[in-house]
Symmetry: C2
Subunit: 124 residues, 2 copies
């Protein structure tokens, strides 16, 4: 069994600059651990079958929901349940750890050109 | 849909003192997010069917494996794959975020009296 190496989140974050483009850093129980960086506002979307865990690591991530906003600063996390529409907004920048099922589509069924196909999300 | 409140990890950690006694802070995709604190060494164990994600938040957590040790400091994570024997050791103390399937037994099939049954792990 290859049990891998420990993963240093800060070092992994330093290894890429692309915005709203998740990187996969690990896999457990059919789910991926991912890192993403953002600036500004992404698209409204939801995931029909997948809950999505967001842990803010740097900056400030606002999760807009249809009836309120959730503000996450470093060390704060939020779980967006499946089916709940949300729009991530970084104020002005944020880095986030995501935990979600492997098949989770980046921006749900939306057509945002920034959406990255699951098979195109690189491991780092 | 109750989408809950944001979860502040530091505040949650301040809310309990018990060692090696996981607290559940969230649920996503059939998995629990948990916080645990430790001092000293726990028991060797493995989980036959579950991978286990450890993210060190405070202190230093050493995951002893049979052939090596993985040292985790704050901001570092490690995934113990299912079936891999491990023994957590806090040097001298550590706080950790865990992500694992709901049915994961605290210390596997081991008989350590410190093992906490899944149904006895409280939400905080």
């Amino acid at each position: 069994v290859n049990t891998g190496d420990p993963i240093d989140l800060a070092a992994k974050l330093r290894s890429f600059d692309e915005l709203w483009s998740p990187r996969i850093i690990g896999e457990a129980n059919g789910q991926y651990l991912k890192l993403a960086k953002g600036e500004g506002t992404l698209e409204w979307h939801s995931h029909e079958h997948e809950d999505e865990v967001f842990l803010c690591l740097e900056g400030r991530l606002v999760l807009e929901l249809r009836e309120r906003e959730v503000v996450l600063e470093p060390g704060q996390l939020f779980i967006v349940p499946k089916g709940v529409e949300h729009r991530p907004r970084a104020e002005p920048r944020a880095s986030v750890l995501l935990f979600e099922p492997k098949q989770t589509r980046h921006l749900g069924e939306g057509e945002d050109p920034r959406a990255v196909a699951v098979e195109d999300q690189p491991w780092i």
